[in-house]
Each structure stands twice: as C-alpha cells, then as structure tokens.
Symmetry: C2
Subunit: 449 residues, 2 copies
C-alpha cells in the first residue's frame, strides 16, 4: 500500500459516520464483502488483498492536518472532527485466507465493529480487496493455461497507477506467477524480479550485435537478449555467433526474448537456430499482448517457449476489469439486516461458507449458511483480526501462494477450462433462507415506516 | 501522485541504464509517447496526466535506502549505484496540453534528455499518462452523452487501487465531470466533492423515515436522501411527508438518489410524487452501473434526472481499460531511429502534430510531421519542461478543464457519436515518409550488422 490518508474515502462515509455518532448509533455492526455474480468468463474467483486490508485497518489514523482540512472545507461539527483524531479500528475481521477459491454470494471478508468504524472503512476495504481479487482470479486462469511455461508480470506500465502496478505484481505472484519485472514489488513484497532489455536499447546502438555485447557485459548473469527489433531469425543467428565470445568473457546468456509476430512460429525457428548453434540451454521468452488464450495455444501447439511476460491483460484484467462486488450491512445491534433493492437483494446475518471435497480432495460443493449453523464441510472464513489487531497466525505471502496452488489442484476439472463451464454448486442453507424470510417479514411490518 | 519511489520501475530500465553508462552512451535521446491505434469504440482520445509526469520528473530522486536495497539485491556495479544517488532529470518535455483531443500515431509527449535518463523514467511516464488518458477519454464520451445532466465520479471503490481512484477523480473532472465523491481528490486537486448516503445507513435504522431525519439533522445542507432501499416510490412519499419538518428545522433538502431498477421510470414516478408534494426544487440523482450509453438513453427519453453518479464504468474504463500505447526511441545522438518489429513499426524522428480548423472552429484534419517542417495549422505539442524544470506557464487544472471543454466543442459532429464513426483525417507528411525511407535504408545497410 502506498496511500495511507484516510481522506481516501467517499464523502458519504464521513457524512454517515457523523450522523451515526450524533444519533448515538454506535452498537456493533456486521458488514460482509462478496461478489454478487461471476462474470461469464470466470468459472471461479480467487480471494486476495486481505493482508493489505488488515494492515490498513490496523494502521488507520486521521492526522491533525487531515482533520484541519475537513474542518476548513466540509462543514462537519467540531465534536465529530475531534472524534476522528481519536479514531482507531477496534473490531474483528474474519476472512477467507488469500488464495482461496470462491463463488458468487460467498462472503470473503466480514467486519464486526462499532457501526461508525465499520462504515467509514468501507471504501478502502472494497478498493483493496476488489482489485487484488480481480488480478489473482485472472492470473489463476493464466497459471492453469500455461502448463510448464513460467509466467512473469510485465504489467506495471499499463496498470492503473502506481498501487495497481505494485499490487498486480503481488496478486499474480500469489496466483502462481514466477515473478514480476516491477522492482518495487521485490522490495515491498519479496516477489522475485527479473528483466530483459527494450527495443530502444537495440535501436540506440549502431548495430544490433554491439547492443547485445554491451548488455551482456553490463549485466553479466541471467542475460536475456531481445531479438525482434529488426529481423528475429537474423538476430538469433547473431546470438549464436556471439556466444563463444560471451562465454570467454565469463558472461552468462540465459535466454532470448521474442515480442512481435507469430510468436509460436518464431519460437520454433529460433529454437532450431539456437540448437544447431549449440545453445540448447538458452531459453526462449515470449511477450507482446499475451493472455490466457495465447498461453493455451502455445501449450496446444507445443511451442518451444520456456517463459512468458504478461502485461496489460493481467495488470488491468482486460476482459474483466471489475467485479460486481459489495460490502453490505448484514446485522446491526444483534438484528439481522437485508437490502432488498431491485436486483441487488442480499442474504442477511453473519454468514459462513462450508466446502466439501471428494476422496481425491476435489471440491464438490459449498453451502452458504449462518455462522454457528451445523453444516458438513470445511468452514472457509477464518479469524484475521481481533479487537483491531492482526493475528500472529497471519500467513506470509509464500504461505498464501502455496495455499493458492493447493486450491487450484482442488478445482473440479470442468472449472479449469478457460471457457464458461457448468457452474459450481454453491447452495444456500435452509437456516439462511428462513432468516431471510423472517427479516423480510419484520422489515415489512416496521422498518419501512 | 502517491508513490514516489524510483524502484517503481521495470528492472530492465535499470539494466539498460547501467549498460548505457558503462558504454558511454549518454548523448541526447528523443522518446515519444503515442497510441498505436484507437480502440474500435473510441472516436477520439483526450490527453491527460501531464501535470503528474512533470511533477514526477522534477522531483525524481533515488534515496540512499533505495540504492542500498539495490546494492544488496540486484547485482549492479558500485559505480552505477553511486550515479543513481546523483541522478536528476535534466531534460526537456514537450507535450499536448491536458484536455487536447488526439488520434493514433500522434505523439502527446516528447522527452529529450541524456539517453540513460530518458530510458529510466519510461515505465512511470507510461503508467501516469496512460491511465489518466484512458479515463479522460472515457469521461469525455460521458460528458458528450449526458447533455444537461451533471456527472459525478463515484468510482473509487472499484478503481484499481488508491492512485487510480484519486487520478480517475482528476481525469474525469478534467473531462467535464462536475466533481467526485473522493474526499482526497478535493484536498489534492481541488476537485469539488459531494456525497449522499448508503443503503446501510437506512438498514441500520429501525425505520427509513428515521434514517432520513437523522441524516438531514447531521448534514443540515445539501442533503441527498437515498430512497431505493426498500420501495422507491413509498420512500419518495415519506420524503414529501417529512419535508415540512425538515424545513422548519432549517435543514436544506437538495435531492433524492435512485440506485436500482429502471432508473428513468422510477425518476418519472418520483418526480411526479415530489412535484405534487410541492418539492419541485428537490433534484433527482441516479446511480448504479451507469455508463455513457445509459446517459444517452436518459437524454433520449427526457428522463427527469438532474445528476448521475458514475462509478465502475468510469474509474476502470470498463469497456477499454487499456490503450495500445508506447514510449519509443525516435532519435539518438542526432540520428533518427525507428523500430521495425512486425506490426509495431514506428515513425522516426522528433515530431510535431499540426491541426486545421474550419471557419466555425471545427477540427478538419491533422498532419503528423517532423518538428521544424512547415505545415499549415496549429502545432499541438508545446513546451512543458526545460532543463528539468517545469514552466511557469503550466496550466492549472481549471485551465485544463476549460481547454478540454473547448476541445469537445471543436470535435466534428460525427466523432461525438458513441458509435464508431468514419475516422478523423490524420495524415503523415511527405517529409516524415521520406525520413522513414531513409532510416530504413541506412539501418538495412549498417545498423543490423
């Protein structure tokens, strides 16, 4: 996370918070974050972003400067502004561990806190959970499609700003990518970082061969040369010709990168040139507008591509840049609550998701029910914060990445397909349906007056 | 901008920079940023993000901690790492002013600087220019479709991270939005901020009417009540019933908000209820999954909607979350350069775009040519930085917003359509074509050896 100002919120959160405090409505509220429906081209989603939410909630503070700015510009009461300076998140968070696969209507995060707190943090909680979940879900499709091809995130430049680039590196690593080109992701999150060269490097030189030599002499190890600036196969032959000289200098050529044209076809030709030239160990990297469908084609064609850099389609989740998600009040002061707006109705109460598996460990079905209901299966929401503090049991990014890998292995075969599959069975329990009917009845009787 | 670490870059920029320094390649380079092709559902694009690029370049510094981290992790030479501490951007920037309309292949920003500097900043320059251009272009379509309906950005929660939310508020304001719900956008950029209430506020109360009273008593002015939590028309009648009491308390009801169902139809019914109730001055706000097509329908149906909140479709530019853009080397050490990769060839040299208008001030055609070429029309790229410093003539956001409004008025009628129109005429000059042929000839002769 790079932005910590609590002014990064919708004005209405502050408006509501002041009204709640003024009316003395500070009892415990329960909000849940969930996705209303899966996009047609996603057979499952992957929960991500919890660590950033926990860090945000734990560190959330209004500064004096922020409160002074609000006092000067937004017409809040002095009493409310004073309360902001003392504000700390004191609530509980339960959530699916990062990397967990989930489906429509299943809460992946639940906040239990005094109503003004639980409301105020809505905007940033959604902002953090939504984006990483979008990218982790996209990256997971790529990981499934790529087979043995290693994947690396090249998406910073077209990500939507700094934080998106940084968190896309994290979320894609979580979902099985080998690393990222983004240096800051290595520093902040320990994501393995790697990099090659740009066309400009070749163009700036008087000759392509000189560019290759200069780059190798400077980088020395893990050298990857970009060979498509002018003529891909001609450049591959130059690499073969230069190889003895580089070896003599102790420089280690790792691979060549292709970034344009028919990548599978170029890879076959380049592989042949390299192999005949004795460079069997030199890998072929491909990049340039790749997505999960391109990866699937490479695998189907057995293209001799060892690794791919994935940019825009990953970091913007280009086909599904947003999910229909919500953070909704499900209980206040011990009473279950429900929104009934047309097309946007929600399931009330504090909920839990139970998942069942077959004897091979493959997921067979989920049940959405009330917390405390007795249902067969593994409960997916786990404690993540208590009384405003994160738990010592919080997983590392490496732990979460291992969990995500295990989750992909638990996916039913049909859901691994890139194409829309018959939906996974996620049922709603009798207990939850009964509560819903009761809430509707009670609300009709009184709450709408 | 919220992220200033220079580690927010692709590793290859640092790899290339070290190689350039090692090889003594520090002469002047010219890079240009442009969009290769317009998406099929964009008839024009709007340049945005220049102010953030200029601020970034002017303030760019490596910290000792960043250099120490690189020293410990990434295998760079001591000499190179020392040079990073002293690094400042010393170059020139020429660019289209923010708000300017542009088309494929037209550079909107040119960097002229020593090669290592111009290369290093590539990633973040693209990251900043691309995203705001994406959003400003989307917002401009919305502004054209909305007629007299006021637009407000509600997109922070589903924007891709903090910076995206903040810069989407800026870019949409630039392109004609009236304001944003994002408080930080008001503090950082002076974007007008406004807000209503959420469904949770209504749900948390024992009755909808009590929620309305509590909110109005707290907010006092500019009160906008959300009326679709249970039954929209019933809630509108409650607003009418409450109005005398609110007025008596000196509270100012500004409007009601609809967020679900058939918004145009609900707006007609609610307008009738409010008007009969004597609340003709109370405005109707609409939100909930809106985009430019929905705005066009509201206008076509003359729906009585005064203002709309636009979220996800704006802040993620949902139909076009990314543009095919590039930042390419066009000249080094006085020699024009050109990338010839398949499907990604570029026009070489330092370029300028000239635009012509008819007697009514409507754009009639552009010419892409070399800087210094004599072409009829207005040159669109203007100085933005000299020797690493921003210029005193830099426009304010208000200036840029006025320029963007004027630009929309200069658009040919057919390009204002949301549907794909016959493309605008942007021709390539004879001088540029000649240079391209010469560069190709020279490169074939020598550079590819």
């Amino acid at each position: 996370m790079t932005e910590t100002s609590l002014l990064l919120t919708d004005l209405y959160e502050l408006n509501m918070m002041q009204a709640y405090q003024r009316a003395g409505m500070t009892e415990t509220a329960v909000f849940e974050f969930f996705v209303r429906r899966l996009p047609s081209n996603r057979n499952f989603l992957v929960a991500a972003g919890l660590e950033q939410v926990v860090d945000f909630l734990q560190d959330a503070r209004f500064t004096q400067a922020e409160v002074d700015w609000l006092a000067a510009h937004q017409g809040f009461s002095a009493e409310f502004l004073d309360s902001l300076l003392a504000l700390r998140f004191t609530g509980d968070v339960d959530a699916m561990p990062e990397g967990t696969i989930f489906f429509a209507d299943e809460p992946i995060l639940r906040v239990t806190a005094p109503l003004p707190e639980a409301q105020l943090f809505e905007t940033r909680i959604i902002n953090l959970l939504h984006f990483q979940t979008v990218v982790a879900s996209k990256a997971s499709r790529m990981a499934l499609a790529a087979g043995d091809i290693q994947l690396s995130d090249f998406g910073l430049r077209r990500a939507h700003g700094a934080e998106a680039g940084l968190l896309a590196a994290r979320a894609s690593y979580l979902s099985g990518f080998a690393g990222s080109a983004t240096v800051l992701a290595a520093q902040r999150f320990g994501v393995p970082v790697s990099g090659t060269m740009a066309h400009s490097f070749v163009q700036a030189h008087e000759s392509e061969a000189l560019a290759f030599v200069h780059f190798a002499e400077s980088r020395r190890e893990g050298v990857v040369l970009l060979i498509d600036t002018y003529d891909t196969e001609a450049a591959a032959r130059k690499v073969v010709a230069l190889a003895p000289r580089l070896t003599q200098q102790g420089l280690k050529l790792k691979g060549v990168r292709l970034d344009s044209g028919d990548l599978a076809e170029h890879a076959r030709r380049v592989r042949a040139i390299l192999d005949i030239g004795g460079l069997e160990q030199v890998q072929i990297f491909a990049s340039g507008g790749l997505d999960e469908w391109a990866l699937q084609r490479f695998v189907a064609e057995a293209a001799p591509i060892d690794a791919c850099g994935i940019g825009t389609s990953l970091s913007t989740s280009q086909d599904v840049p947003a999910l229909d998600c919500a953070y909704k009040l499900q209980e206040y002061a011990g009473q279950a609550k429900r929104k009934r707006s047309e097309g946007k109705a929600t399931w009330p109460g504090r909920k839990q998701v139970y998942r069942r598996y077959d004897s091979n460990g493959v997921m067979t079905g989920d049940t959405l029910t009330l917390e405390g209901d007795t249902v067969v299966g593994e409960p997916l929401l786990q404690p993540a914060m208590r009384a405003g503090k994160s738990l010592e049991t919080a997983p590392s990014l490496a732990d979460s990445r291992a969990h995500a890998t295990a989750e992909r292995q638990r996916l039913p075969v049909r859901l691994r397909d890139l194409k829309p599959a018959e939906p996974y069975v996620a049922e709603v329990s009798h207990a939850l349906r009964s509560l819903t009917a009761k809430v509707d009845h009670d609300q009709r009787a009184s709450a709408e007056s």
